[in-house]
């Protein structure tokens, strides 16, 4: 459980060295390991089996190369990709491993490579160098024993963090640091980068034999950079792949899209069909062989055959039919998927110019899922809002500041109070300035910059400095404050850190002049107000909190208490004890903190504004119109959350919408409340009301553990939910709950507390925002702004879905086409499993002729982006999986059967009698198939760029070129065949007939559907292509026809919220409101009478039909 690190004594341990290895393979195991990985896929196993069967020459209908070729090609492609990635990892590892590092060896400093660092070594790092392994800090250049590190590579946070040396090491000089001996007791390697529960004991002659606790603040973790500090040195405790970074590296579970699952299902169905064909034809073949073929002396069957002969014909058919499952589909899909991802990254319109970040697709395999999202679970802070905190208002000692102007910093009363040294205000400002973990950094110009981990703290410190209380420097335990040109110094004695459970932080300081000790606290209202001393009247503060929350402001309560020195000393001891605990330290520390944080004098309430990001209401509007349900999960308090939800169109106020509260403290209360809400929801589903429910973390905890079923029903019924005060794990639980109901979920967030939800959801989207990159790193997609989400879903998701739907079904179509021809031919060849096509043609058919044109489907656009944005309802086609499901697949199946019959029947009749030569006939049938597939691609695509035209018809030309080339090889079976055919008028006449008969009915059917039973997509296509105005909004009423038979689309419209439904309290200066207003009043007026939904049709129901 524990590891003991002896400082400067490397021979006493057998821990691993500091060689970092991220590579998956070595030169030796690459081939077997890679093959093993690849063969874990069912498809690959299947293809291998087929390829092996083909080696048995008795049963193989064609040259084994026709399967081995593509198979080896596909494997080589994936293996090369893996090898390339691994090689790059190896190179970057090598760079890190061979980095030159100073360490202390035998009392002298020495240069070694980073990979040779052993646990226990003392490592020296200079400014701006990277930390090579996890170190416990024991010395720095700063006299106070602190150093600054940037942890961006570890947690994505770009602010500087302060690290301090443990107290027992303070004051050691260079010489001593070279000779220091001691032992560090620390837990075994883990991946928690926020915890390090260890202690250090130095051996004599160094100071004393005392145990000194270590926390994460005493460490320098691998991959951090040393900043603003000349040098630092530390003891290596974890090395190589056992560092915190190394341990947290993991391979995330691959996500499977709904579409992939559907394709797998269809593949399974085709596989069963194939088995059925094999069984039927195999037994028919055996029967025919015994009744007919034995009479045919020229076939010369032996009378007594080995038993396995009965398997020969079925196995031959198995091989003949194996092409039903297209071997190229995996490669094609991988290719187009990575292109979808590239399109997302390339997209200029999702490029955030403010922060210079393009969108990024970390997971290239799930673009189609974006088009099938049904639920979006969004974080609030930093996702919907800008996370740019501005101190707006405050209530100090019962006096409200900033109410009139909306900006307390410009409130004359407050400025006067500051100038008059009003004691309450000074206390309030002192807490604002001191009770935080902000690091002030003096820039060369003399200005003071604050590096803060929390945006709230940053806002408070900045506001205080505007009110003339300036935090000038903070050196270890000493803080210097300038207030009205006076310099005040404080000693920081203890920091009672913020945790999400405690929801408050406190700091113990002593005034250097008076020596008085104070406890300064700030935190959420429910965490601070209960700690008030009993006589204080807290009502004003509760009112203030409520009032501010209603305005959508984030509130913090500030409090303080003067401590008796005895009390403090006693407490300090237990605090130290708790801090050096190795087990349950966090809990023990919280316990001890609790003992100090009581009888506070509540000083006031601060209110910080977090503005909505630009474009958020429109984005939510459009996405909700497209049938996506929104859940907002936030850690904020209920009233703030509701306010923000109103502001960003998530919910509407009465009478348009209704907000149902689920609350209660006890199980019974929660249960009753839940039941009531559920009942109301059931009744109201048929009404045109915008129903939403609100639940807080407390009630949610009870519900999730006891009333899961009822809550699931509620979740399905209601389109909008607000969950406030939820923890990261509850967020993840909610995602899981929706996923268990078979919904496609998308989670979007920006902070570390969203990581679990993002990883849990089908699609995780991270906003690369101010709270660091943690969420963006864990996410499948990262975007710069929330408003890009609508483009990500409606444009990229939708196109990806459409394109993959076409591409995958087409792949099956072309494979089935050639396979059906083979099956039809077997009826004319004595059901013996003869292949009509030769090996080269079969191989080239799958790999070249048919796969390249369809790849250009990645450029196909059924509707322009503009049309989709104007009619977001069209997303339903993707959401409900209308374009790829068993019935559309049946259409393609039927088409391939029809085309196979057309090609085969026409070929055998046109090439009958004296023309029925095997090679010629097979090439006629092949040309016919190629021609038909080119027409099919042309017919099914909606827009043609020159790339598509080139691929489709260039491919057709390439077919002839390739076959001409093969026809000049004398040893090839096809020698002269193609020239011979092209000289025959019959050949061209036959091809023309095949294309006419093959495409005529399909064109007619498609036209009929397109014109007289159009889908919504068709209607929009027509509108778009006629070139006229997209919408004839004005005369819509007059054009109304009642006779339209269009029952196949029953789209549930999301009723559009009334524009009056939004409070407009503090966002008046934001441009959002005005744009949204104009939007609502212009183009969405058309939807205004929409409030009566005739049925309670949810996407869920539509999915069924």
């Amino acid at each position: 459980m524990k590891r003991f690190v002896y400082i400067n004594d490397e021979y006493q341990n057998d821990y691993c060295d500091n060689r970092i290895s991220n590579t998956k393979y070595t030169l030796l195991n690459f081939l077997p390991k890679n093959l093993w990985e690849q063969f874990r896929r069912f498809m690959n196993q299947y293809f291998l089996l087929i390829a092996c069967l083909q080696l048995w020459s008795l049963i193989t209908p064609v040259n084994p190369a026709s399967t081995w070729g593509p198979l080896i090609f596909i494997f080589a492609v994936s293996a090369t990709k893996e090898a390339w990635d691994d090689y790059n990892r190896y190179i970057s590892d090598k760079q890190v491993n061979e980095m030159e590092i100073w360490i202390v060896k035998n009392g002298a400093r020495k240069h070694i490579q980073a990979q040779d660092i052993r646990v226990g070594n003392i490592v020296w790092i200079r400014e701006n160098e990277e930390v090579p392994c996890d170190l416990v800090l024991i010395g720095t250049s700063e006299p106070q024993g602190i150093c600054h590190v940037e942890t961006a590579a570890l947690d994505g946070e770009i602010d500087l963090k302060t690290r301090v040396i443990p107290s027992s090491c303070v004051g050691l000089d260079h010489e001593q640091l070279h000779k220091i001996k001691g032992v560090i007791e620390c837990p075994n390697p883990d991946k928690d980068i926020r915890r390090f529960d260890a202690n250090i004991r130095l051996f004599p002659p160094f100071i004393d034999n005392d145990i000194c606790p270590l926390t994460i603040n005493n460490t320098l973790l691998q991959s951090c950079y040393l900043r603003n500090t000349e040098w630092a040195c530390g003891v290596a405790v974890y090395t190589g792949n056992e560092t915190k970074l190394g341990m947290s590296r993991g391979v995330p579970e691959p996500k499977l899209t709904a579409m992939d699952a559907m394709i797998d299902k269809l593949t399974g169905a085709i596989f069963l069909f194939q088995i059925a064909v094999v069984v039927v034809l195999g037994s028919a073949g055996n029967i025919w062989k015994d009744t007919e073929a034995r009479k045919q002396w020229y076939v010369k069957y032996d009378d007594d055959e080995p038993w396995y002969q009965i398997l020969v014909i079925p196995l031959r058919f198995e091989l003949l039919c194996s092409i039903m499952i297209p071997i190229s589909i995996k490669v094609s899909l991988d290719f187009v998927k990575s292109l979808y991802a590239k399109f997302i990254e390339w997209d200029e319109e999702m490029y955030d110019h403010e922060t210079d970040t393009p969108a990024h697709a970390a997971n290239t395999a799930i673009s189609e899922d974006l088009g099938q999202v049904e639920y979006i679970l969004t974080d609030k802070t930093g996702t919907l809002t800008e996370n740019k905190m501005i101190f707006r208002r405050c209530c100090i000692g019962g006096v409200f500041y900033g109410n009139e102007s909306g900006d307390a910093l410009r409130d004359v009363e407050l400025l006067n109070a500051v100038a008059n040294n009003s004691p309450h205000v000074i206390k309030f400002l002192t807490v604002m300035t001191l009770c935080n973990t902000v690091v002030p950094i003096k820039s060369p110009s003399g200005a003071i910059l604050y590096k803060a981990q929390s945006q709230d703290e940053d806002a408070l410190v900045n506001a205080a400095s505007n009110l003339h209380m300036v935090l000038v420097s903070k050196n270890g335990s000493n803080a210097e404050i300038h207030f009205n040109r006076r310099v005040v110094q404080y000693d920081i004695l203890d920091i009672l850190e913020f945790t999400s459970d405690r929801k408050r932080m406190s700091i113990v300081v002593s005034d250097c002049q008076s020596g008085k000790i104070f406890l300064l606290s700030k935190g959420a209202d429910e965490a601070i107000i209960p700690c008030a001393y009993s006589e204080q009247r807290i009502k004003t503060f509760v009112d203030a909190v409520d009032k501010y929350a209603q305005l959508g402001l984030r509130t913090l309560c500030l409090g303080w208490r003067e401590l008796e020195s005895d009390e403090y000393l006693e407490w300090s001891r237990s605090f130290k004890e708790a801090n050096s605990a190795l087990i349950d330290r966090e809990w023990k520390v919280a316990e001890v903190c609790q003992k100090l944080e009581h009888s506070l004098e509540i000083l006031g309430v601060s209110a910080i504004e977090d503005r909505l990001q630009a474009g958020v209401p429109e984005t939510i509007e459009i996405l909700r119109q497209s049938g996506i349900n929104f859940w907002m999960l936030t850690g904020d308090k209920q009233s703030t959350a509701i306010q923000i939800a109103l502001l960003c169109n998530l919910i509407s106020s009465e009478p348009k919408g209704q907000l149902l509260h689920i609350n209660g403290r006890t199980e019974d209360e929660v249960a009753r409340s839940l039941e009531r809400v559920l009942l109301t929801t059931r009744i109201t589903t048929s009404e045109p009301k915008d129903l939403a429910f609100v639940v807080d973390g407390w009630a949610l905890e009870i519900i999730l553990s006891h009333y899961n079923e009822a809550f699931t029903e509620l979740a399905v019924l209601s389109k909008t939910a607000i969950c406030c005060r939820v923890t990261p794990s509850q967020k993840a639980q909610l995602v899981k709950l929706l996923k268990s109901c078979d919904y496609r979920t998308l989670a979007i967030g920006d902070g570390g507390n969203d990581v679990r939800m993002i990883q849990q959801a089908d699609i995780g989207v991270g906003i690369s925002g101010r709270e660091g990159l943690q969420a963006a790193r864990a996410a499948d997609y990262s975007i710069g702004k929330f408003r890009f989400l609508k483009r990500l879903i409606l444009v990229h998701g939708r196109y990806s879905y459409n394109r993959t739907a076409f591409l995958s079904q087409y792949s099956f179509y072309k494979s089935l086409l050639i396979c059906f021809i083979q099956i039809l031919f077997s009826f004319l060849s004595g059901i013996a499993g003869t292949s009509l096509f030769n090996s080269v043609s079969l191989m080239a058919y799958n790999v070249f002729y048919t796969s390249i044109p369809v790849l250009t489907a990645v450029l196909d656009k059924d509707l322009s982006e503009k049309t989709v944005m104007q009619n977001p309802e069209i997303l339903l086609y993707c959401q409900a999986g209308r374009l790829l499901n068993p019935s559309t697949f049946a259409g393609w199946f039927g088409r391939s059967l029809y085309h196979a019959i057309v090609v085969f029947v026409i070929t055998i009749h046109a090439y009958a009698n004296e023309k029925s030569e095997m090679e010629e006939l097979s090439m006629v049938a092949l040309s016919g198939s190629i021609l038909l597939q080119a027409f099919v691609v042309t017919l099914e695509m909606n827009s043609f760029t020159f790339v598509q035209l080139l691929a489709i018809w260039g491919n057709f030309v390439a077919f002839y070129v390739i076959n001409f080339l093969i026809s000049i090889i004398p040893s090839a079976g096809m020698y002269t065949i193609m020239f011979r055919l092209c000289r025959q008028p019959t050949y061209w006449v036959t091809l023309l007939l095949i294309s006419g008969v093959g495409m005529g009915p399909i064109l007619a059917l498609k036209y009929f559907r397109y014109t007289y039973k159009p889908s919504a997509i068709n209607i929009l296509q027509k509108a778009e292509r006629s070139g006229g105005p997209m919408y004839t909004l004005v005369n819509l009423e007059s054009q109304l026809r009642s006779d339209v038979e269009n029952t196949n689309i029953s789209i549930s419209t999301t009723p559009v919220k009334n524009k009056n439904s939004v409070y407009e309290p503090l966002l008046t200066e934001s441009p959002i409101i005005s744009t949204r207003r104009s939007l609502v009043s212009s183009s969405f007026d058309i939807f205004q009478p929409a409030q009566s939904r005739t049925t309670s049709s949810y996407p869920r129901n539509i999915k069924a039909n």
């Binding site: 004595g830 004296e914 005529g1000 007619a1004 027509k1022 006629s1026 054009q1039």
Partner: protein, 348 residues
């Protein structure tokens, strides 16, 4: 078709810092990255669809007529002889007849020429219910051996690969079952000459069958299949074999026997001297002898003509049908009214 070209939406690409990728903000590749290449978006308007069907109908019907015309100008005499050539005594047991080598297989049949047949007249034999495309049969050959001689005999020839330990040239079932009926023709008392040269593909003679490969150990086994070969002629000159080895894809097929290079006149009686050696009786196969002229489409084959006529007239029918529907029930082309969500809204 109606064209609606999308122009690049005027994107304000000027602002923002230059990024590493995409490199240029104009040009084909940039537009590709923005999925914004100029595209042709054909619309399926009634006009263009009706026109397509009209064009199909208008072209297919004449093509069909031309094909039928060509086929009708081919004069063809088909004469099935496998039953007539069996002596009455063996009618019930044809296999005994064909397997008994002591019975003379000569057979004389008469046909009457119905149309004037202009030279060249092709003589084909037709086999029906003969599966040259059977998996076991079609694979049983060695192209290498045919080209380079017995050293290249490989296992693909089974079951006719070796005999008494020596390779068989040509090996394999196809060669072994070589068709060996022979035909001669007389009209009145004069012999009609049949040219038996150049009946095979030139390319086969030159590059598929060796000039220095001679039959060896052929038909020497216990079981004799079809015809024998002249051991002194190289394979490249064994044209009957070359023709036979071009396997047919269908169970009913014709193979060229020779060419008659003189005209046959109406009402002439042609006497066919057939040597009926080949055993099709065991599996109920049919044998016929065909004399036919040729057109640009090949032999007599009405299929293409009728198929074109059928397709053409169906497509004309569709043209009229679609046109009628369109006239009676016109649909405005850009009517978003049909969108269910719009309709829903407007109804209420």
């Amino acid at each position: 078709m109606e064209e609606a070209s999308t122009s690049a939406s005027g994107k304000t690409a000027a602002h923002g810092r230059q990024r590493a990728f995409p490199p240029a903000r104009s040009g084909v590749f940039y537009r590709f990255t923005q999925q914004n290449l100029p595209a042709w978006k054909p619309a399926m308007t009634p006009g263009c669809v009706i026109t397509i069907f009209l064009v199909i109908g208008v072209t297919f019907v004449p093509v069909g007529l031309v094909c039928l015309h060509a086929s009708n100008h081919v004069a063809e005499i088909v004469h099935r002889y496998d039953i007539d050539c069996v002596p009455n005594a063996y009618k019930r047991n044809k296999q005994a007849y064909i397997k008994n080598s002591s019975i003379s297989k000569n057979c004389t049949q008469e046909v009457k020429v119905k149309y004037h047949m202009r030279a060249p007249i092709y003589v084909y034999y037709e086999l029906d219910n003969f599966y040259q495309n059977h998996r076991r049969y079609v694979k049983s050959r060695s192209d290498k051996q045919l080209r380079y001689g017995q050293k290249h005999t490989d296992s693909s020839c089974g079951p006719i690969e070796r005999n008494d330990g020596l390779p068989v040239v040509p090996c394999g079932l196809i060669a072994w079952s070589l068709f060996n009926d022979t035909y001669g023709f007389t009209r009145g008392s004069t012999e009609v000459k049949v040219n038996r040269k150049n009946i095979s593909w030139k390319s086969d003679q030159e590059s598929k069958f060796g000039k220095d490969v001679y039959p060896f150990n052929f038909q020497n086994g216990s079981l004799i299949g079809g015809g024998r070969l002249d051991p002194d002629l190289p394979l490249s000159e064994q044209e009957d074999l070359i023709v036979w080895m071009r396997t047919a894809a269908l169970p009913q097929f014709r193979k060229l026997y020779g060419v008659i290079e003189e005209d046959l006149h109406v009402d002439e009686t042609i006497i066919m001297h057939i040597e009926n050696n080949y055993n099709t009786y065991s599996f109920g196969g049919k044998k016929s002898l065909i004399l036919t002229t040729s057109s640009w489409l090949g032999g007599k084959n009405d299929f293409l003509g009728y198929a074109y006529l059928g397709t053409g007239s169906l497509s004309l029918f569709l043209t009229i049908l679609f046109a009628l529907i369109h006239v009676k029930n016109p649909r405005p082309h850009n009517d978003s009214n049909y969108l269910s969500w719009n309709r829903l809204n407007s109804n209420s």
